[in-house]
């Protein structure tokens, strides 16, 4: 109050250029710097646990670096050249992508179906929703141990059941494809419910009156699902796909515990890239090459992220054309609701691993959605 009174007195004699008081300067500083200060904790933490390790890993990758004996000679990009010619590296990439595809695709389809079922009027809703999230609460180690036992080749539950039907036992650990399926099963067991819950949240925010009018127009439940539900949850779908991709490329616990002796099967039939990285560092004790693999994996995830981003941007624009009419109608009828749902997206995106670039594509889609809802 006093400042407002005093200000004219001070500024007027000072000709055209008013001299700001300390308080004013503080105000300006507050206006300009505060936002940065508020977000600083994240960035400081990110620099400490994300950026610094990233840089240091690159530094290590340029050296002969023994796990126990420490830093050795500077070798430049020799580690990169050697890893790129390493058959086990490419094998691990193949396994990673294969397990990723076998797990993610069925997982997302299942999650969507489960979410659609849960979206119906069920009795004891909370019970069902909690139940599908339960596997997510169990630690991956426990999941891996139980499944490893079930997938045992000679004494496992599944092969026992198969043999009682007269089917030959499947070599769950020694054959490539069965081992990938076994690991994908563990991943799916853990993540399907989680993704289903996110998709369910998206489905719940689709206004019910659209379904009603569609039903009046004679659309069956399948038609309503494919023409209304799916297009409406597209942004969330993109988010789920992005996080599933990042997670899928970093699978470690499940293959590690599926064969607790070797790193990813006796003949590396299910050795993922992260597992190979681990083997390189802690069994072969070559820290330099392990860092190289870490960096190559980072670049690969970056690449996947960019592809993801391009595709998702494309889907978003396409969706704008096709679903424009229905969406406009929706927006008019329940704009605040839709806004809340769109605004929820960036917040969810923060949960994605901060260090990975693909996370950026999720917020990227969000701004595209927001203006639309405002139209």
């Amino acid at each position: 109050m006093t400042t407002t009174l005093n200000r004219p007195a001070v500024s007027r004699p000072a000709a055209s250029k008013p001299k700001p008081t300390f308080r004013q300067r503080l105000n300006v500083f507050d206006m300009k710097a505060s936002p940065y200060l508020y977000i600083a904790p994240f960035f400081i933490l990110f620099a400490l646990v994300g950026l610094f390790p990233l840089g240091y890993t690159f530094f290590v990758s340029l050296f002969d670096w023994h796990l126990l004996k420490g830093q050795g000679e500077f070798v430049g990009f020799q580690n990169f050249a050697e890893v790129l010619q390493d058959r086990f590296f490419w094998n691990s990439l193949f396994n990673t992508v294969s397990i990723f595809l076998i797990s993610t695709i069925p997982q997302l389809i299942m999650a969507t179906i489960i979410a659609a079922v849960l979206d119906q009027n069920l009795r004891a809703k909370t019970f069902w929703r909690m139940s599908i999230l339960l596997p997510y609460v169990v630690t991956p180690v426990a999941v891996a141990m139980i499944f490893t036992n079930m997938f045992g080749e000679q004494y496992g539950l599944i092969n026992n059941i198969l043999s009682s039907f007269g089917i030959d036992p499947i070599m769950w650990k020694n054959d490539t494809l069965p081992s990938h399926i076994a690991i994908a099963t563990m991943v799916n067991w853990r993540w399907t419910g989680y993704n289903a819950l996110i998709l369910l949240a998206a489905m719940q925010s689709v206004p019910r009156d659209i379904y009603e009018s569609a039903a009046i127009d004679g659309a069956g439940s399948f038609r309503r699902f494919f023409s209304i539900t799916l297009p409406s949850i597209r942004p969330t779908m993109v988010f789920v796909i992005v996080t599933a991709t990042i997670g899928g490329l970093q699978i470690f616990t499940e293959p590690r515990l599926f064969d607790p002796v070797a790193a990813g099967g006796t003949a590396r039939q299910f050795q993922t890239t992260v597992l190979y990285l681990w083997e390189m560092a802690f069994q072969r004790q070559n820290f330099g090459k392990a860092s190289t693999i870490a960096w190559l994996l980072f670049l690969i995830i970056l690449l996947f992220g960019i592809v993801n981003w391009l595709i998702s941007r494309r889907i978003a624009t396409n969706g704008d054309d096709r679903g424009a009419a229905s969406r406009r109608r929706r927006k008019r009828s329940s704009a605040p609701d839709a806004n809340a749902y769109d605004a929820g997206l960036p917040a969810q995106a923060v949960t994605a691993p901060a260090a990975s670039a693909p996370a950026a594509s999720a917020p990227e889609t969000a701004p595209e959605q927001t203006p639309r809802s405002g139209k």
Binding site: K69, Q154, K173, N174, F282, N286
Partner: protein, 438 residues
Amino acid sequence: MEFSRLRKISAIAGVASLALAAAGCSGGGDKAASADNPVTLTVTTFGTFGYDDLYAEYEKQNPGVTIEATNIDRGSNARTDAFTKLAAGSGLSDVTAIEEGWLGSIMEVSDQFVDLKEHGAEDIKANWVDWKFKQGTDPDGRVIGYGTDIGPQALCFNGKLFEAAGLPSDREKVAELFGGKDATWDTYFKLGRQYKEATGKAWYDQSGFVWNSMVNQMDEGYYTKDGKLNVEGNKDMRAKFDMLAAGTAGGLSSNQTQFDWGNGKAFVDGSFATHVCPAWMLGTIKGQLESAGGGAASGWDVADVFPGGASNWGGAFLSVPKSSKHPAEAAKLAAWLTAPEQQIKQSAAANNFPSTLEAQAKIVEAAKPNELFNNAPYGAIFESRAEGVIAQFKGPHDSVIQENVFGPALKMLDSGKATADEAWNEAVKLLNDLVVNN
């Protein structure tokens, strides 16, 4: 330097106490534990060590000492654990058990371990079998490990299955059957084929352990005595590999998973009839039988014979890493745990065979039968099996070669995916990838 840094870290971690600071200043001679100066010692072992009762006894005898023990399922995982912690520069237990197989790798960084000579190793040197003490000594003459047990190999067999196949089941007759003192691998595989013909079942659980036994028996294993790799072009080793491959191709292997055996079920359902048995394996088999609900009735027994002559596989050491905050107390505990009197108790609990002369003699004298193994006098059997054992030189990558080079190659044989040639070539290729060009 080392200690001041250590002190700083512990202060930051919020665990600094007056006692700790005192330990930091006084270097190796930290203040002895007492009721007024409580000390917590951590111990990491692996496999079946049989120390649980001994910890309690030591705590009782030494007021103020608390022991926090961790046991890792198997040696190779303990190796990874130890390497990771060595690399991190912290986290190793005050007393860390080291397996013979990866001792060579530890020797490369032996300066990270306390020289036990500073804590009286010379005074008790004569306790041990000569070669065991030497194994724990690094090239500079520093003693970094006290031997716990040794792994002289005998042959385990299943009397019931032998009988069913028309073979003798009495352990002396079995020893004779295999050739007694002149037992050879040829006889072993010949009998295996005979057994397979009679019963249609496998002779051994998987090729890996048989292979370890064959290699450990050679004068020079994966490394020559002067530390050079000794695999490629090694005709002797190749001949043994071919012999094993031929046996496995003939269906003698049950293709089990090492240290898993379907949670021990393979030991009770008659999957295989023989098993190579370094002394400590009796403890492992005991654990497997227990988890599968089998017992003495399962028919397992152990005979005083081993194909190809005396062989030692495994055995462990207790070491004290430099990062320990209580090196003197830790060394004292390690010395106590490996003293003859305690080794006898360890042997009773873990079914392994001690590495000190006095303990060996006492166990033979006591002639306590092993009930699980058809009352076999295991003391006398393993004492006899330890005769003529020569400590083979273990190179820095010995355990990697055993687990990660020959492991996959032998698995290819077991699952019938490769011929002897293909498997050997794969092993050589893996050796080049994992060890030579690492």
